[in-house]
């Protein structure tokens, strides 16, 4: 070990930087004694390293976390955290306040109906349960409503869909499925009065033969009326 001091009498700071550095380097450059067991421990730890996918995911984030901790200035970190918190707050508020929020909260329930029912139906008891479980605004509820059409009423139909004020009269929005002589589809509808029509083979509008006819049907084409009641 070098025990000599680098400064002699009369040496001015700055004039001896090179000498100082040589002296300091001479102290700091020698390698420390290595304990072989420490190296063995590393190799042993690596050899038996088995990680879950979650641990691997966290390990991938560690460099990012270290960069965040050591390279991002504290002011920028604070500002980013505040901005992130605000963003999350706004998003959460948007989800909570959204009129459609309950659609994702309340489960869509299959309505058990008679396949030969002549009008679309909803089950008020089930939807009441929905309201309790979902805790949502009643006006925001959509009630699963089944529309059925006897295949004998449209013998030439190869495809049937339903259009109405609830799907912007879009022919492709709600196709019916043929099963044991009945075309049917279930559509979630908000409570209230709705006008609708079946569309056969994409072009022929057919009013529901077992429902009330709408006197105010749009487009001058046949339409039917359904009243979906509040639970």
């Amino acid at each position: 070990m070098n025990n000599q001091t680098p400064f002699g009498p009369g040496l001015e700071p700055g004039a001896d930087d090179d000498r100082l550095l040589r002296q300091v380097r001479a102290v700091l450059t020698p390698m420390p004694e290595v304990d072989r067991r420490a190296i063995a421990d590393i190799l042993n730890a690596v050899a038996h390293r088995k990680r879950t996918p979650w641990q691997r995911f966290v390990a991938r984030l560690e460099p990012l976390a270290e960069w965040w901790q050591f390279s991002v200035p504290p002011v920028a970190r604070g500002a980013s955290l505040a901005a992130g918190a605000l963003l999350v707050g706004f998003m959460a508020r948007g989800v909570i306040m959204s009129p459609n929020a309950s659609v994702g909260v309340a489960p869509t329930l299959a309505v058990q109906t008679d396949s030969q029912a002549t009008v679309p139906v909803a089950d008020p008891m089930r939807t009441t349960l929905q309201t309790v479980e979902g805790g949502a605004d009643v006006s925001a509820l959509r009630i699963p409503t089944q529309f059925v059409l006897d295949a004998r009423d449209v013998p030439t139909a190869s495809r049937v869909s339903i259009v109405g004020d609830f799907n912007d009269w879009d022919v492709s929005n709600a196709p019916l499925v043929l099963d044991r002589g009945v075309w049917s589809v279930t559509v979630p509808l908000p409570p209230g009065r709705h006008v609708y029509s079946f569309v056969v083979n994409g072009e022929t509008w057919v009013a529901d033969p077992r429902a009330a006819e709408a006197t105010d049907a749009d487009f001058g084409r046949p339409g039917s009326v359904i009243i979906v009641q509040n639970p």
Partner: protein, 186 residues
């Protein structure tokens, strides 16, 4: 084990990337002394330094497959090691704060290292080095002990070259003053 020349080191590195354990072992053998020296000079505590080095090698092992083949290995390795040292320093600081406000006596980790001489110029150098702010200490050690250029140091620290030059200069200024004071006192 013989030191590895640049060509052999590159080959070993590539084989270790493919998952070859023997090559990874050679890599650890090759880098361990320098890593331990750096960690001890950063942390001034042997056990903490060994822990930092072990953590660094485990992270190297976990991420070696993602290391770019054409990139220099030293700055990447020392960046990982430097981060581990900083993490341990932060932990130590928190531990110190807890003990400082409690009734337990403070066992200063920075004063406990069997590898630091207890007298003479070498002791003064280590004491002066320990008194530097961690950023200056790291910059000085990378530049003047590990012989890195400023581009490599920028990769290690994430700081700009001009910032690193200033840190090294300030470190040397402080060392000069501290060592001169030590010389005068003797």
């Amino acid at each position: 084990m013989q030191p590895l020349d640049a060509g052999t080191l590159h080959l070993v590195l590539m084989q270790a990337r493919q998952g070859d354990r023997t090559s990874f072992a050679r890599l650890v053998e090759h880098y361990y002394p320098r890593a331990l020296r750096f960690a001890m000079q950063m942390l001034h505590h042997r056990e903490d330094a060994e822990e930092a080095v072990q953590d660094a090698f485990i992270r190297v092992h976990d991420n070696l497959a993602r290391f770019r083949e054409d990139a220099p290995f030293d700055p990447w390795f020392f960046r990982i090691l430097g981060n581990r040292c900083r993490t341990l320093m932060a932990k130590r600081k928190r531990r110190h704060e807890v003990l400082e406000y409690g009734d337990l006596p403070y066992d200063a980790a920075s004063e406990d290292s069997a590898d630091i001489p207890d007298a003479g110029f070498a002791r003064d150098v280590h004491a002066a080095l320990a008194s530097l702010p961690p950023e200056q200490r790291e910059a000085f050690l990378l530049r003047h002990v590990n012989d890195m250029d400023y581009e490599e140091m920028a990769i290690v620290t994430g700081a700009k070259g001009s910032t690193l030059r200033m840190r090294v200069k300030r470190a040397i200024d402080t060392l000069r003053v501290r060592l001169r004071e030590g010389a005068i006192h003797e």
